[in-house]
């Protein structure tokens, strides 16, 4: 029993890693295709049918490129930077519930790496570690552009982290739980948090853009001012790590947004589908098929989120630094606090009176 639990968990971890990496790889392809579509061109179309093998070609290029370490760089920190960025990006996927449960041979397994009861705080802690990947790499490069990019990144990430945390607090006030699994389970059917927290959702989404360093918040790698930003000196697979980490972060934050605000694996009419499936396939198989359907819905939401990231990237121009800081400190933080107050009044006053009224 002990060993089977261990093996199941190990398999789940490997599957999550594999899926995250695969999705990140194909996000690079998707990014170019979306960019091509928006700018009325074709995008990659040479490697394989519709250019589908393009990510593999890119990965191969990353492996075969020569790797420079600048003579004046701190060698170990230079290597540690991208590794840290990649590690923090991968770590956050551990607590995301990709689906409800699978039953097999009397064992019920959650489609989730870890059902940690402080899941949200874990994600938040990992996000706050994410600054260091960029900071270590940027400083160790011994390049002015890198250093400026790293400082910008650190400053931007910490500014938006506060507003992000405050918008999460509003969710917690409604769910009374820190576990992502139970927050998703509470949004059963179409009872999604987005209906109760529209303002919080907008704040969270904006902060997610800023935390991923995506346009319109990509000042750390703003090529008109800072060449390549914090990865100016990087090449080969280490550069690949930084780029990859960005795409993984994008996927993870879309997954978190869909888990917190769009009900995760829940969709309207899921109970009806569940009864139909269990009637058709029997209890266990039906349950499993329903879970897989929920997981597919979850991935659909998360991938739409990734698409949204790309859509915004090719639509909006970049902010100026003072605009970025003003939006973070003077716009989002007061709004997020207001949102907490509104939620508090809603939970204490509107919800009980509404339920009394409906009775």
């Amino acid at each position: 029993m002990e060993l089977t639990a261990f093996i199941i968990k190990a398999i789940i971890i490997l599957v999550i890693f594999g899926l995250t990496l695969l999705i990140a790889m194909y996000s690079t392809y998707g990014e170019r295709k979306v960019a091509g579509f928006i700018q009325d061109r074709l995008g990659p179309d040479r490697a394989g049918p519709w250019g589908l093998l393009q990510p593999l070609a890119d990965a191969g290029k990353m492996f075969f490129k020569e790797d420079f370490i600048p003579a004046q760089a701190n060698k170990w920190l230079f290597i540690a930077g991208p590794c840290l960025a990649m590690l923090t990006a991968l770590m956050a996927s551990a607590v995301i519930p990709f689906g409800s449960t699978l039953r097999y041979d009397g064992i019920e397994v959650a489609v989730q790496g870890v059902e940690a009861n402080i899941g949200i705080l874990y994600i938040f802690g990992v996000v706050s570690l994410g600054v260091y990947g960029i900071m270590v790499g940027g400083w160790a490069s011994n390049n002015k552009f890198s250093l400026l990019g790293a400082i910008r990144a650190a400053s931007q990430n910490i500014s938006y982290e506060v507003a992000m945390g405050l918008s999460i607090v509003a969710i917690l006030m409604m769910s009374e739980s820190l576990s992502v699994g139970s927050i998703v389970a509470q949004q059963h059917g179409g009872n999604w948090n987005i209906w109760y927290q529209p303002l919080g959702f907008i704040i969270f989404l904006t902060c997610a853009f800023a935390e991923c360093n995506r346009t319109p918040f990509d000042l750390p790698e703003c090529e008109t001012e800072l060449v390549g930003g914090y990865h100016t000196e990087y090449s080969s697979m280490k550069l690949g790590f930084y780029l990859f980490a960005e795409y993984i972060n994008m996927f993870i934050s879309s997954a978190v947004v869909s888990a917190l605000y769009f009900g995760g694996y829940n969709y309207p009419g899921m109970d009806w589908v569940y009864t139909q499936l269990t009637a058709a396939f029997g209890d266990i198989a039906g349950h499993n098929v329903a879970t897989l359907l929920g997981t597919a819905v979850f991935f659909g939401k998360a991938l739409f989120g990734v698409f949204f990231f790309m859509w915004v990237r090719w639509t909006l121009p970049r902010f100026r630094y003072d605009q970025l800081m003003n939006l973070g400190w003077k716009g989002l933080i007061p709004l997020a606090i207001l949102n907490i107050l509104i939620t508090g009044i809603g939970v204490l006053f509107i919800q009980p009176s509404l339920t009394a009224f409906l009775k």
Partner: protein, 161 residues
């Protein structure tokens, strides 16, 4: 017994292993022919001037300072948010618990808002704004002529598109 955090540790170890594997494969495959030109610090093709020990704006420090204080506030908010709407506690206190908790937290957050407002009013949050310089050129053609031409062709371009 594998606890939740044990699995998380396993996750981190697996991640580290993966990174090591990728870097190791890369090391085997890629060429390694460094020379001083390649390894020079990149500074847009110029000879680098000095090293990266640059001083930067003090406002970055103030932002980090504000962040630490708000992060502590956030840390206090998390346990509060979890118990704030707890129905058992509200029942036990005839509904006073929720309002009490909300009021206490408003006072606490209000104090930090006061700090934010202080920094705001004092201008600690104001970043240097770029001042775009409008180029002034002496031109023999008067500006009114351009406007007249623009007006003349305005309707045509609208029709075209």
């Amino acid at each position: 017994m594998l606890t939740d955090f044990g699995i998380l540790l396993l996750f981190i170890l697996a991640g580290l292993g993966l990174l090591g594997l990728i870097l190791g494969i890369g090391r085997l495959l890629r060429p390694d022919r460094p020379n001083p030109e390649k390894n020079a610090t990149y500074e847009s093709g110029e000879e680098p001037v000095g090293n990266a020990n640059v001083q930067f704006n003090v406002r970055f420090y103030v932002v980090a300072l504000l962040f630490v204080l708000f992060e502590i506030e956030l840390i206090f908010l998390f346990p509060w948010a979890v118990v704030f709407g707890n129905e058992d506690l509200i029942q036990q206190t005839d509904g006073r618990w929720g309002w009490f908790a909300l009021a206490e937290m408003t006072v606490f957050v209000g104090m930090l808002i006061l700090g934010l407002a202080y920094a705001w009013v004092k201008g600690y949050l104001d970043w240097v704004r770029p001042k775009p310089a409008i180029p002034a050129t002496e031109s023999p053609v008067p500006a009114a002529l351009y406007e007249a031409i623009n007006k003349k062709y305005e309707s045509k371009t609208v029709n075209k598109t």
